[in-house]
Structures are given as structure tokens and as C-alpha cells.
């Protein structure tokens, strides 16, 4: 029988009624003829409760024990989902990560899945089981200890199972009914997309449209997994939600598919850095080692052998970045005149695979921002994305202006 993966997030399994509601959606797919692998998150609030306990024990906690504690939330939901399906007369059983086993690296709290052997679950399907319920977000290391994949890791679990079991599709059930052209809280003109390319979703995910975890989209691209994002709280048909798929499945795409934003950014500038070979490595090596997630990087034109280096990072990493740069300067690895941090910026981006074959998108974007008198502080581009840093106070205005400029309210392709 064809296999379908269905993933339910924390709000979709928040209590027994919602678990029953989710189980009804599983039942519908079983009745359509699928063998189903259900991936569940912890009941909403439970993981935060467990993280709170761990943080209460020690400021510098052992990540291995953290993982052992916080993974328990998903185990509870997996058992309850299996019980609920059984009560409906559907042959089901639960698996915890170590039982499959979901083999991961030993990078506790940020482990990566290395292998998902199929034999055990395949055998149970062959024996008549119709639904395998698997606790998301967790796995087991070579040392036999429980690992977790990082927050939102259940999306990644779901895509990894869809890849391992060659599933027809991986349906991500959440509390929104799909992917939108932009954040509907910013403009009521935001429109749900029927389809979006995986490449576009990857950019949107990494730009703060928190519908899917970035890693799960990367994994879906690598293994060509078809994803669908849809709501647990609506009656769905086979075409509900947003299909996140290979761009070849999208007949005619708009130049720009969506406008993304990321509110809490900071812009850091190292003023008057010696412009010599290796200087970028000398700057960004220590930042990376300090756990600073550098996003945009701009180097000014060199003048008399010195240059300014600008980069952006999440605003809550500014202190860490400043310490890393000061220490590197004290060690004599880099030299700069001063370090300026602008913590009042945000990032706004337009994303679309149509850009590849369509010139003038950047010009159109800059014009729309200029018409609103919004000053651009940093620009970066990729093949299918243009991002700008602007003052945070203009974020909503910029998103609305760009949504209008690229006519995203119109009908879907």
C-alpha cells in the first residue's frame, strides 16, 4: 500500500479532544488506502514545562540529560495517539525514537538524523498494522543515549521518515491553513498559496516564516519529498493547504511568490579593518565559534588598505558578537577602529523562483521602498531572493508596499 506521513504539531495534539480530532484525519487517510506513519510533537506547553525544569536545575546543564528529559513529551503523545486510533478500531502502535531506531549524531539538542532503518515498521505493516505512530524530535546516538533534533525538530523527523519510506507525501498539520504570500498579521491582503516551490519555501522558512523548520525543507529538497502544509482545525480535501513541491510541479509561477520578514535583527559594523587576505576568516571564524549566526555580510570598497566590514545577526547575539570581536582583537588576530552595533533594524525579503528568468526585480523592489521613503542599509541577493536591512519601525510599511508592488494579492498561479 502507498505510504503517507502525517505530522501533527503541539497545538494539534494539545489535549485529548485534539488528539481525537487528529486521529480522525489519520482515519480518513487509512480509509483512502494509505498505510500511515504519524509523527507527533509534545502536547503544546509540555516541552516548555520540561525545558523550564531543566533550566531550573543548572545554568550550564548537560545536554545529554536535557535531551533525556525534554524528549518525554513526544513519547506521551505517541502513546495517546496510538491508543486513540486503536479505540477507533485502527491497528496502530507507537514507537519512541530509540525503538525504531532513529539513528542520529551525538550532537545533543541539535542532533542530525543519520539513518532510519525500515525493517521493524515495514514488518508490522506487513502483519496488518495500518498506522505507525512515532515520537518526533528525538533519536538515539551511537552511545545509546537519547538525542533531540532542536526545537521544531518534529518537522525534520516527518520529512526524514517520508524520505526513508518513499512516502507519497508528507502532510504537516499545524494551526495555519497553509503558506501565505506574507504574514497575514501585517496585511489583510496576504493570500494563501496553493503551491510553492521547495526552493522558495526554504528561503521563506529561513527568513522567519515559521510554518516549517528550515532543516526539514532542506531535507525535503535533497530527497524530493512532497510536503503539504495544512490546518488541523479545518475540514480538508485532497487539495487543501499549500503543496510545497518541486518547481516542475508549478506550471506558471509569479516572479515573486512572497514577502518575508525577520524582525529582531542587528547590524554590526567593524570600522577600518586592515584589508588583507584572510581577514574574513579571521573575523567570521571567532563569530562562528561563539555561536553567532551571521546572516548578511557586506564588505566596503577598500581605501588605503583598510575597509569596513558589516554583518547582520539576531539582535540577542549582539553581546556575544561584541565579546568575540574584542577578544580576537586582544589576541591580535584582527584590528579595527571601532565596532558599531545598530540593534534597531529588521530584514525584509522578496522570494520567487521566477526571478531567475526575470530581470528588474531588484529595481522594482528598491523603487517601492524609495516611494515610501524607507532607507536601505544593507542589501544581499541570491538567485531567488532579495533581502534588505531597514529600520525596524518601517517593517510593516515595507512589507505592505512590497506586497502591493509585486501584486501578490492577485489570483494564484
Amino acid at each position: 500500500m502507498p505510504i503517507l506521513v502525517m505530522k501533527f504539531g503541539g497545538t494539534s495534539v494539545a489535549d485529548l479532544d485534539r488528539i481525537r480530532n487528529a486521529a480522525e484525519k489519520v482515519r480518513a487517510e487509512v480509509e483512502r488506502g494509505y498505510d500511515v506513519i504519524v509523527i507527533v510533537s509534545a502536547m503544546s506547553g509540555k516541552t516548555n514545562e520540561l525545558v523550564g525544569y531543566v533550566e531550573g536545575t543548572s545554568p550550564l546543564f548537560d545536554a545529554r540529560e536535557y535531551d533525556a528529559v525534554v524528549s518525554s513529551g513526544e513519547n506521551v503523545t505517541a502513546g495517546l495517539m496510538s491508543l486513540t486510533l486503536q479505540e477507533m478500531g485502527i491497528p496502530a502502535r507507537s514507537w519512541q525514537g530509540w525503538q525504531v531506531p532513529v539513528k542520529t549524531t551525538s550532537a545533543h539538542s541539535a542532533a542530525r538524523i543519520e539513518d532510519i532503518p525500515r525493517d521493524h515498521i515495514d514488518q508490522k505493516f506487513a502483519e496488518g498494522m495500518r498506522v505507525a505512530v512515532v515520537a518526533g524530535f528525538q533519536g538515539i546516538s551511537d552511545e545509546g543515549r537519547i538525542t533531540t533534533l532542536g526545537r521544531g525538530g518534529s518537522d525534520t523527523t516527518a520529512v526524514a521518515f517520508a524520505a526513508a519510506f518513499a512516502a507519497e507525501r508528507c502532510d504537516i498539520y499545524t494551526d495555519v491553513n497553509g503558506v501565505y504570500t506574507t504574514d497575514p498579521r501585517i496585511t489583510s491582503k496576504a493570500r494563501k498559496l496553493d503551491k510553492i516551490a521547495l526552493e522558495e519555501m526554504l528561503e521563506l522558512a529561513s527568513l522567519g516564516a515559521k510554518v516549517l523548520q528550515t532543516r526539514s525543507v532542506e531535507l525535503a529538497m535533497r530527497y524530493k519529498v512532497r510536503l503539504r502544509v495544512l490546518s488541523s482545525f479545518e475540514q480538508n480535501t485532497e487539495t487543501s493547504g499549500t503543496l510545497v513541491c518541486d518547481e516542475e510541479e508549478i506550471m506558471e509561477s509569479k516572479v515573486v511568490s512572497g514577502v518575508a520578514h525577520s524582525r529582531d535583527e542587528a547590524k554590526m559594523t567593524l570600522v577600518s579593518v586592515a584589508d588583507r587576505p584572510g581577514i574574513a576568516a579571521a573575523i567570521f571564524g571567532p563569530l562562528s565559534e561563539s555561536g553567532v549566526n551571521v546572516d548578511m555580510i557586506v564588505q566596503n570598497i577598500s581605501d588605503d588598505g583598510r575597509t569596513d566590514m558589516t554583518f547582520s545577526c539576531p539582535v540577542d547575539q549582539v553581546l556575544r558578537a561584541e565579546r568575540a570581536m574584542t577578544e580576537a582583537k586582544e589576541r591580535g588576530e584582527i584590528n579595527f577602529h571601532e565596532l558599531i552595533a545598530d540593534t534597531e533594524v529588521c530584514k525584509v525579503s522578496v522570494v520567487g523562483i521566477g526571478m531567475r528568468s526575470h530581470a528588474g526585480v531588484a529595481a522594482q523592489m528598491f523603487k517601492a521602498l524609495r516611494d515610501e521613503n524607507i532607507n536601505i542599509k544593507v542589501i544581499t541577493t541570491s538567485e531567488i531572493k532579495i533581502s534588505v536591512l531597514i529600520d525596524r519601525k518601517y517593517m510593516e510599511l515595507a512589507v505592505q508596499a512590497l506586497h502591493d508592488a509585486f501584486d501578490l494579492q492577485g489570483n494564484d498561479s
Copy 2:
């Protein structure tokens, strides 16, 4: 280094402060030179919450999924205890049941421990770890599924580890400071015992003095594990609490050590049963298969080939017992005139290893009850225990009278 097992029940680990308090007690033993194995229960209330979830999914739930869900509470405490000890600078790590592995039978929700391999934990002790924290109440079956040992199973886990690791002692930390001559809520004259024989504790445990799980005491007897019951909420010395030990360690024991009671009993009488060989098996076989825990059994003198058969069981199993008997009658396996259930009885017992060498205890007991005008409905005796069924309304009176009659308020031996 000598090994000590320390077990903390749910109220002793109810929140982070209490876990820290328990960890302090572990630290004290580490500083005394012990390698410690800590067995933890779920934070109080958590197991009930999880059981509530399971019961909410289905009235007839799959015990394998039940075990997978309810075992998660202990996993959380184990991780938190390990983190708390680490924060104190003590090398510690946690184990879930399947990681040790604690090998059990497949009788889900009532599994029995079959083996606890030492090698993994021994290796970590050899590498410098001082405390192994193990989630109580759980294990793993041959099929690789999580099992649980039944409510209160963490006591059994603790004793099993003490036996497997040849521990010097197994300290059971709870919310009372020891074992008493009787329930202090019934008479303020109840006195804490410094020592009690394992045989006596076994009778008291099974008679409803809920300090220790019966199975854990059985296991301690079989493997000669020295148990100590003491409070998590007091400053303890090396002689605090009650030592539950081989009777040879108790120099001079009283004839009677304690008075136990069990409130919610029922007395069932099958009137006019055909008295033929095999009749007892025909009655008690179906009761056992229906899950009725028969306690006392009395058969009247036969008269004209017919007899009355009386037995006691927990009052909440009366309907089940009646159904089992009616069905056995319908199948023609037994024949009786009528079935009378008295649901207003309780059991009161006196327990003491000194009875073995001391005649007249029963007579003394019956006299004390007669002096209070309490009618005895059923009597059973063992080598070290005499139990009677009486009307429930006399329970407190009977306990107080017997406590006085055997002078249990006096100084400890």
C-alpha cells in the same frame, strides 16, 4: 567502593526544591564514601496525570501503550536528579529502564524484573561516576517494548538494584519517618520502630501499611537486602528511620510488633456448596481468572455433603466476584444455594515474629476484642500473624484496643 541504593518517592521529588533536597542526601552518602544508585519515582501527581490521559482515550486500553506513556514521568525525574547532582559537582548520569537494561517479563503494567545486567553502570563507576540515577517503575520486555511494574513499582526497582549490585543497604526515602506499630492517624500512641524483621514487614505491607510495596519486601527477603525506611523531610543520621532487616539482626523482639488494618474489605459467602473433592479449585479458579484478589478463606464443617464457603476480597471487586460465581454456576461447574456479600467489613491484624515462640497471642487478641464487644466474623492465622474480619465501624476501636493490649506504646526493643 561500597554501593548504596537510595530510592526517592514522588513526594520526595515533587518539585525542583525537593529534588535538590533529595540530592543533598545523596551528596552526604557520596561524601561518606559510597557509590550510589538512586532510584526515582515520577514527581508526585505526574503519574496520575498520565494515567488520566490514557484512561481518557479508551476504556479498554492497550497495556503496552499505557506503559509507554506512564513511564515517562520517571524519565523526567531521573534526568533532573542527574542534572541537580552535576550542578553540585558530583559526577552523575541518568539511565532509563531500557538503557540499563532492566529486563522484565512482558506482563505489561504488572511486569516482573528478570535481570539487571551490571556491566554498563559498573563501567561508569570504574570511570569515576559516583551516582547512577535510574528511572524506577519501568523496564523493557524481550520484544523491546517498555514495561512497568505496577503502582509503587519503584520500591521493587530499588530492591532489585540493591540485590543485583550487592548494595550495603537500600534506603527508601518517603514522606514518613519510618514504620510504626500502627497507623498514627488511628492512635497517637503509635510508636516508630527502630527495627523490624523483613517477615513482619511483609505481613504489614500486604495488610495495608502502605510504607513499602509488598513485592519489594518479598524481593528483599529472597535476596537478603537490608532496607531502611526514612523521611526525605528530616535531618537523618545513620540510625534514622526504621531498619527492615533479617530477624537475626533484631536482638530481642516483642511478641507483637504491630497492628495493621485494611479498611475496604468485603466478606462473601457461598451458602450450601456441594462438598466434593475439587470444589475449592472450581470456586477459586474462576475468581482468580476474573482478577479477584481473594485474601482469607474459611470453609465450614460439612453437613450432609454440603458446606458454606466464605472468602474475603477488596470491596471494589465484589461485583466482579459475583459475576464470576454466577457464570461458574451457569456453566455447571459449581452449585450453591445463594451468595451473600457483606461489604461493611474491615480486616485488623497483629503481626510479630515473637509469636512463633509465644503461645496465647490469639487468645489475648480475642479477649481484647471481646472486652470492646467487637464481634469477629472470620479468623485466619499464619506463623507470625493473626487476622480478623470485623464490622468496619469498629476498626479504629479494635486497632486502639489491640495496640494497648500488646503494650506497643512501650520502649522499642
